[in-house]
Every structure is written in C-alpha cells, then in structure tokens.
C-alpha cells in the first residue's frame, strides 16, 4: 500500500501489507552498525497462503486464514461481541475505568509518538501509539455504541469491521511492548499501552487467539506442568542441584539451595528461564543469600518454582490463575514473604497488578522485590566486597516493569555505584528509560521473521543507548557489561548483541545484577563474570 497510511486503511485491501519496513530508513546506528542498518528476513513465498501476513511484512502470530466465508463472518461477529464485553462491568471490571478514560479522552495531540521507541526507530505511521488506539476507538464508536453507524460521519468512525481489520489489528496489538512510556508523557494521562493490552485480551478471552509462545507454550503449559519452560518439579530440582555443584566448583564456596523449607523468612521465586538459560543467576542468588545468612528457600509445590506470568501480557484470566497459585502455595508453605527474582514482569504481576485480587489470608504473605533485599545485604557489612574486581565499564538497563511501572529506581543504582567504579547511566534512564524491545512477551516470541523485527526495530533505541553509553571506549579490547536485572530483558539483549555481533565488534556482554555482586565478593577468588555470549 503506497502513500500515507490513513486510519481507515486498516480495513482496506487486505491482500497486501499496510506498511513496509525499509531497514535503510530506520534511525541510524553509529559505526560499525550503520551499514547495513539491519535486515529483516523476507517471508517465504508461500507464507501468504499459509497464514495472514498483511500488516508490515512481519509475522509474529501465524494466524491461519478462515476456511470459509461463514467462518470469517463468525470470527468478525465474535470480535464485535468482544468489543462490547470490554465495556461491561462483569467481564472487564479489572480495567474498565482506565480503559474508558483512554477511549473517550484522547485529544489526538500525538505527544505520545516521540515517546514510543518503536515509532521513533522506524517512523512508521502504523506504529504510532495512536494509530492502533484510534482504529480501536473508531470501531468502538461505530459498532459498540448506540446509533454508532448513524453518527459515524460526524464522529469520524470510518473504520470498517471486517476480516482485514481484525486480522491486521491482531498482529498490530503485538507491535507494542506495553512499556507505557507513551502514557507517561500524555498530557491527559491516556494510556495507549493499555489499549494494546485490552486488544490482546479481547482476542484471547473472546476469540481464543494468542501467541503460541505466551499461551500454549506459556500460561497453559505452566498451569499443567508447573513451568513455561516445561520443567516439572523433579527436573527443576535436578537442574538446581547441577547449578549448585557448578557454582561450588567455580567459586570454591559450598553452594546449597534449600527447597520447600516451611516457615522460611524468604521464598525466592525465579523466572525459571534463568535456571535453563542463565544458571549463573540463580547460582549467584544462592551464594549471596547464604553468605548473608538469610533464612530462605525455593519451593517446588505447584508452579512455585517459576515466577513467570505471561497472563499479564494478554489475558486477565490466566494472569489471575497463575498469581493466585503463586501466593497460595507460599501461604501453604508458611513463608513470611515472597521475594521476586530478577524478572520484571513477575514483579509487576505479583506485586502490583494482582495485588487487589489477593484477599483474605493471602494477604499474610508479603511480596517484595529482590532489589531492596540485595541493597540491604550489600550495605549490611555481612559480605566483604572489593569493587576493583568490577573495574570495567558497566551500564544499567531499567526494566520497564520494575522501574517505570513499580517505581523501584534507586536500590540497584546504589549497589552499582558502590560496586562498579566505571558505572555509567544510559540516556535517558530511570523511569524515562526506553524498553529493550523484548517487553510484553516479545523476548520469547520468535515465529517467522519476528525476531528480526523485535531486534532491528523494537530493540533499536535500546541498542543505540547501549552503544552511546560506551561511546568513550567503543572498541572490543575493552570489555563492557550491560546489567539487566530482568529475565526477558536479558533474552532480548542477548538476541540483540548476537544479531549485531556486539561482543566481537564492541566487547559488549550482558548479565544480571547478582552476577556483578558475586564478582565483587572477596571470598570469590576467580572472576565470576565470563566475557562470552551465553
């Protein structure tokens, strides 16, 4: 589709993409990452026959075509039903007030556009936070309000509800990281991130459409097996035992992880992805908590060993099911508090978003971030540190779910300022940070050519920030560390550094916060941080 894209174009000419991404037109990166400025693999020639690919030449969701006009009609009708349900108290009390405010009071000033890392990196009209929202708003006005069609010429509700519209809108709901940077700058307080979230909910809760990685391989698998990684209780204990042995060999410190300790002060819940992909992170936690004398445990009951809750990104029902299980099992074990491991969305799901559905005796279990606990430990004097062991450039990525959404800004910084002599901030940082591009589940989504898009487009601003933070020592001879205290952010940063070859070209690697803490411990003789891509 050529020319400037209009709102109503979303429902027109469904046989061709609404927009096309030219990587040469993306915001430039500094050398040696400027030529080429990234590539996005073209879809296979038969892709359009197998699935819907009419948004932007990228396919995250592999939505099949309806098999008949009747099925197509039924799906569109279903969507219309869902649109109405979003505005009912029974079905959507959970977000009705913020959603209604976002629906009715956007003044169309486009202030949010420049706050969005996806739009800023690409300049694509369809990635403006308001594009998706305005399509949805016009659909609501026309199809979910009394006399909507009659009033359409006045209200500007010119979007047609058809298969093209809903199939594009489904894909477009997954071009937003739900980081809410747009909401932060909105003069009215309208939350376009929330609108993307509610659209995802509509698709999931009414039509049963959700990314396979988040639903079948995510929440459903977690509720069935215990973890979205597929690990059951036996396997997770085995894996952690291996990690303990490795850590003991590596550090010379006897590392043991306690399991299912009734009445423990702290129940630590990791994102189980850490155990699979970054074992040094749970290992480092064990070393620190043991050294500080914390009365802690991991738990194997139910889903208690995996803090993941992808329901946060697309489905209130799945969110509630998982959050209730997390806290119920902690209550049963009699622990005093749940401490969130280095996982941003886990923080947000259990600590705030699910807070108000945790009623009655579930309130007995307190929920707290690992970051203030680590700060307490580091400054308690219980562990001896030698900051010179961390004398290399370090920058900090602020996970949106921990920083912008929960306001936990300073504990991690106080630790880094103390333990890392060459710590430097990105610009902007703190609550004004840019999302890594992996937020809202993207980091685990890799269908078709979506990984290319999330790295080259969604992660572009973050990669630029990382390069800028290390601009004083750009060469590979100086090893540099991006501290990202969040599992999904680490997954995205790993993919980003690999995509650009940043370890080889610039000496940049990444990891969590606890790894830096252990690396600075006097009792740990060998360097804990490995300068390799993992």
């Amino acid at each position: 589709m050529s020319g400037r894209v209009r709102i109503k174009d979303i429902g027109l000419r469904g046989d061709q993409p609404l927009a096309e991404i030219d990587t040469d037109e993306l915001i430039p990166l500094p050398p040696p990452y400027d030529n080429p400025g990234g590539t996005i693999q073209e879809l296979k020639p038969d892709a359009a026959e197998r699935m819907v690919c009419n948004l932007d030449g990228v396919v995250a969701l592999s939505l099949p075509h309806p098999e008949s006009p009747e099925e197509e009609r039924a799906l569109v009708d279903h969507f219309a039903e869902g649109l109405k349900k979003l505005f009912t108290r029974e079905n959507n009390w959970s977000f009705l007030q913020p959603l209604t405010l976002a629906m009715e009071y956007c003044v169309g000033c486009q202030t949010c556009s420049d706050a969005c890392h996806v739009f800023k990196a690409s300049g694509q009209e369809i990635y403006r936070p308001t594009y998706r929202s305005e399509v949805w708003r016009r659909l609501v006005k026309k199809y979910a309000k009394p006399n909507g069609k009659l009033m359409a010429p006045l209200t500007g509700a010119d979007v047609d509800l058809n298969w093209t519209t809903i199939s594009r809108l489904y894909e477009l709901a997954y071009r937003c990281n739900l980081c809410r940077r747009c909401a932060q700058v909105c003069p009215i307080g309208v939350d376009n991130g929330l609108i993307a979230h509610e659209l995802r909910k509509l698709f999931s809760q009414e039509l049963g459409w959700a990314p396979r990685e988040l639903h079948e391989q995510g929440t459903v698998l977690q509720l069935q097996v215990g973890s979205s990684t597929g690990m059951n209780q036996v396997l997770v204990k085995d894996n952690v035992e291996f990690i303990d042995e490795d850590m003991t060999d590596e550090t010379g410190i006897e590392v043991t992880t306690p399991w299912d300790k009734e009445g423990a002060d702290v129940l630590l819940i990791h994102n189980a992805g850490e155990i699979m992909s970054w074992p040094e992170n749970p290992g480092a936690f064990a070393i620190i908590l043991n050294a500080a004398g914390i009365d802690w445990t991991l738990a194997s009951e139910g889903i208690e060993y995996d803090g993941v809750n992808y329901g946060l990104f697309y489905d209130d029902v799945q969110l509630a099911r998982i959050a209730l299980k997390h806290v119920s099992a902690a209550k049963k074990l009699g622990v005093k508090k749940i401490v969130m491991g280095e996982c941003g969305h886990q923080h947000k799901a259990i600590m705030t978003v699910a807070d108000r559905i945790l009623t009655g005796e579930l309130r007995d279990v307190k929920r707290v971030s690992c970051l203030p606990l680590l700060e307490e430990i580091v400054f308690s004097g219980k562990i001896e540190f030698d900051p010179s062991k961390n004398d290399f450039p370090v920058t900090l990525h602020d996970p949106c779910n921990i920083v912008r959404n929960l306001g936990i800004v300073e504990p991690q910084r106080r630790i880094l300022r103390y333990l890392c002599p060459q710590f430097r901030e990105m610009t902007p940082h703190g609550v004004d940070n840019y999302c890594c591009g992996g937020g809202s589940g993207f980091a685990v989504m890799s269908g078709n050519n979506f990984t290319d898009w999330r790295v080259a487009v969604a992660g572009r601003m973050k990669f630029k920030q990382i390069l800028d933070a290390f601009a004083d020592q750009p060469g590979p001879e100086v090893k540099k560390y991006v501290c990202a205290p969040c599992s999904n952010c680490k997954g995205q940063i790993r993919d980003m550094l690999q995509y650009w070859g940043a370890l080889e070209k610039s000496g940049i690697t990444y990891g969590g916060l606890v790894e830096l803490i252990v690396n600075a411990m006097v009792d740990v003789k060998e360097p804990f941080i490995k300068w390799e891509m993992h």
């Binding site: 007030q97 009071y105 594009y131 108000r356």
Partner: protein
Amino acid sequence: MMSGSIPLAVCYGLLAIFVVAFLIRSLKIARLPLHLRWELAPVPKEKGRGRYGGSYLEEFEWWKKPREESLVAEVAYMLEEIVFLKALWAHNRRLWWFSYPFHIGLYLLVLAAFGGVLASGMAAVGVAGLGWGILPKWIVWVAGVGYVLTALGALGLLASRLADPKLRLITTPVALFNLVLVLAVAVTGALAVTTVPGSAVDAVAFGRALLTAGPVPHMAGVLTAHLILAMAFLAYLPFSQMMHFVAKYFTYHQVRWDDRPLERGGAMEREMQKLLQQPVTWAAEHVHADGRKNWVDIATEEVPR
C-alpha cells in the same frame, strides 16, 4: 447596530443541560468499578522519592513502615501541569505554543465568568448597582485578554490540525467542530468587548435577569450572539472530548498515582470481593465461562496436570 434578546427558557434549558450532563458524566467516571493496580511512575506524592520516580516499593519490608506521602509535592506537580501545561511543554513544544494560550485564555474566561456571576448576584440582591465598583471593569479586562488568547490558540490549533499530517491523521470532524465552536465563542466575545460600549454592564444585567428570572435586557446583537454561543457551548461541553479536564483528574489520581495496596478487612477488599462474584461470559474455550461461574470460580479452577 443590530440588537436582540434571549428567551429565559432557552437560557435555563441550556444551563440545565450543562449542569445535569456535567454531573452525570463526571459521576459515571467516578463510579466505574475499582480496577487492578495500574500505577505509573513518577508518583509525585511519594515523599522524597517522587522527584526521580521512586515509590515505597523501594523499601525492603515496606509494610512495616508508615507510608510517607507529600501533599505539597503532589499539589506542586498538579499546579505545574495545570498552570503551565508542563507535559506538553516538555514533550510537544510545537503544539504548546498554541495550546498554552488556548488554555490560559479559557482559564481567564472561567475567572471572568465567576466575576460576572458575583457581580450579577450582588446586583440581584441589591447590594450594588450594575456598574458597581471596579468589578465590571476588571471583568472586561480579564475576559478581553481571555477571548484574545483563546481565539489565537484555537486558530493555531485549527491550523495545526489541518496542516500537520500527523495531526490530520487522527483528526475527526467532531474535533474540528469543537475548535470552531470555541473560536466562535471567543471571537464574538472579543467583538462584544471591543465594539459594544458598556457590554460588561449589559452582561451583568443579563446575569441578574437569569438569577432573578426577571426580564432579559435588550442587548447588542454581537453580545446576544456571544451569550447564546457561550451557553450552547456549555450545554455541549459534557458530551464532548473537551471534558478531558475532568477525566484528567481520574487518569492521574485514580490510575497513575493510585498505588494503594489492598488492606485486609478494608473497604477496598470488600469491594473487590463483590467484583469477583460477577459472572463471566468471555467466550474463548480456555476461559471455561458458562455465564454462571464467577471470577473466583474461574480463577481458582484446577487444571488437570
């Protein structure tokens, strides 16, 4: 010069629509159910932390310590936003140059309107005459500056909406109509102030007539047109997007800044328990809703392992 009058019934009708619709729409937002926590930093009331976006969740074992909130910091943030449109200044400077005079102009007109009501009230009870003291003069100046600023701002915003492709992208006919309506109110007001001798005294007399249900004075045509347009604008306001000044209270105080945790045994918990009893009708298979099961049933059902 043309002149005219306005039937009292029309005035009361328009003002009644304004008051009733304004209250209903505001109450409708306020009465929307308690939602899940959805706060967004910075939360300025967080004492000592709000300036950098921190919250009480930065404290280990925060529940053992009293919540420290700063009303001064919250009010200071609100004043900066209301008086200077700080968010727009910081993030969309180009539009601020039009939006700022537009809003400041409207603030002045509201102030002048209050002055007008005060003067009319005093005239109605006989405390003062129509030309009492300096009040009408003061009203004329405030209103005059308000009309000019509002008109300039509205013109700028209108031109931006028509000329700037990114604004045109999401501009609807209604949004243009809103600006034209405000522009018409401001221009007629400015004309009345500048071309009609004693317009403020006439306006106060009109106000007295409204308050006492007395005879509406005969006024200059442009002033009559202005008063009709102003009242029509008020009647229309609650049905429009321009109610965003009310919505903004809720987006900030009840969404972005509402970081209250639920307290066991508290009113919030009781409200939440009622909400969780509502039946669910979402149709996707994995929800397992049948229209009878409530949120508790659905969220706590066991999945076969």
